[in-house]
């Protein structure tokens, strides 16, 4: 190889490197909506075969390795469901007495979580069900343990959920006894290993005992009322004598959850 040829090869290498770095930085600077749209288009076209392949692998794994666990969970659910007709009748009677409207019913879609290998994977999950199954942007995602997040992007056979670990996540919540309301959001500076949320907006004069369960309040219209979010772990900080911020241990772990349910509530416009 001549010297000039070697130099031109080295120059072309540098050009390719700078081009790739520039494209990467441009991708990072894209508005969220554009990035999600681009990713969604590629997932639905060029990457559709690999998403299909991984979804099949997850389903195989579930059917082969988790059959006993699923059977036990089904038995427990069947046992718990035996008391439901009585509760529903009682609930309808009480609602009738108070002249309350009945709750809007919504469907549910089960989906496999197609975990990836990146270090920030717990912030956004790829799910094996999409618009073809009725999934729409803004639908809440829950696991058997509690709230996982909400759908931010869908294509025909897959969708992406933003989890509670994502810095943009927030949800309106209420304590189980209904005495206090607030907003939960990820703890700034906490890693996925810390697995913590913050309950903000609680007046200084009010106190939430450690161990209290926190549920979605249903106020913002994104999450239906009553989805378990987490348990109070203690006071994180006090804001100048007018607000207490509590640490919350979430019930669901996005990094480990393998199956989720997507609530088919109405589509929600996400301002991102």
């Amino acid at each position: 190889m001549s010297r000039s040829q070697g130099r031109s090869l080295s120059r072309s290498d540098t050009v390719l490197l700078v081009g790739c770095l520039a494209l990467s930085v441009a991708a990072m600077l894209l508005p969220s909506a554009w990035a999600l749209g681009f990713a969604s288009t590629v997932r639905a076209t060029a990457l559709a075969p690999v998403v299909w392949l991984q979804n099949n692998a997850e389903q195989w794994r579930t059917s082969r390795l988790e059959l006993q666990v699923i059977a036990a969970a089904r038995d427990s659910a069947a046992l718990a469901a035996q008391t439901l007709p009585g509760l529903e009748a009682e609930n309808a009677e009480l609602r009738g007495l108070l002249a309350l409207k009945s709750r809007t019913p919504f469907g549910v879609v089960a989906a496999e979580v197609l975990h990836q290998t990146g270090p920030t994977e717990g912030r956004a999950l790829l799910l094996g069900a999409g618009a073809g199954a009725g999934v729409r942007v803004g639908n809440p995602v829950v696991s058997p343990d509690g709230l996982v997040g909400l759908i931010v992007s869908t294509e025909s056979r897959s969708s992406v959920a933003m989890t509670w670990a994502h810095p943009d996540f927030a949800a309106s919540v209420v304590t189980e006894d209904g005495s206090l309301m607030g907003i939960v959001a990820p703890t700034p500076g906490a890693g996925a290993s810390e697995s913590l949320l913050e309950l903000r907006g609680v007046p200084y004069s009010d106190t939430v005992p450690a161990g209290a369960r926190v549920l979605t309040s249903g106020l913002t219209g994104v999450y239906p009322k009553g989805i378990p979010v987490g348990r109070i772990a203690g006071i994180r900080r006090e804001e100048m004598g007018w607000e207490r911020v509590y640490r919350l241990t979430p019930f669901a772990n996005p990094g480990q959850v393998r199956h989720v349910l997507i609530y088919l509530t109405r589509e929600t416009r996400l301002d991102r």
Binding site: L9, S12, D13, T14, V15, L16, L17, C20, L21, L23, S24, V25, A26, A27, M28, L29, L30, S32, A35, L36, F38, A39, V42, R43, L47, V50, L53, Q54, N56, A57, W60, R61, L65, L114, H115, Q116, T117, G118, P119, T120, E121, G122, R123, A124, L125, L126, S153, V160, H166, P167, P188, G189, A190, G191, A192, S193, E194, G255, Q256, R258
Partner: protein
Amino acid sequence: MTFDKRARRRRLALVIAILIAAHFYIRPWIASRVAPDLLMLAMMLVAIRSRPGVAAVAGFLVGLTADILSPARFGAGALASTIVGYLAAYGRAVFFPDNLVVNAGLFAGGVWLRSLIVLLASGAAANELAGSLLVWVPVQALTTALVGVVVVVFFRDWLAIRLDE
């Protein structure tokens, strides 16, 4: 291009195709966040057999794929894998990766460096960086290196590095 060189490239492409299929079909059976990153391994295998520019493009494509499949911070994976791919190819001039231990070190180092750059580009806080880079990422780097060594040994005739490439 000689017939021998073309055949070697075809065999490398076959190994890469097997790794990509395994990444999406076999890896999901390992229910853990420390499961080996076979896409990254495939990229490193290409990178140490290519010119730095080609390795940077391969890294960019693998990183972009990761970003598309898990868009927590779009572009961070592409940036990280581009840098790792380029450095892996550039490093070939410094240390010749024909030794198994050197190969394993390259694979593990690549996964660790990729994760470091992704976390930094994603705005991870200091304790998240520490927790990930000292606990989870090293284990994932080790599992990836282990699988990489098995692949290199199993396909040693196909993956032999030639100095004239």
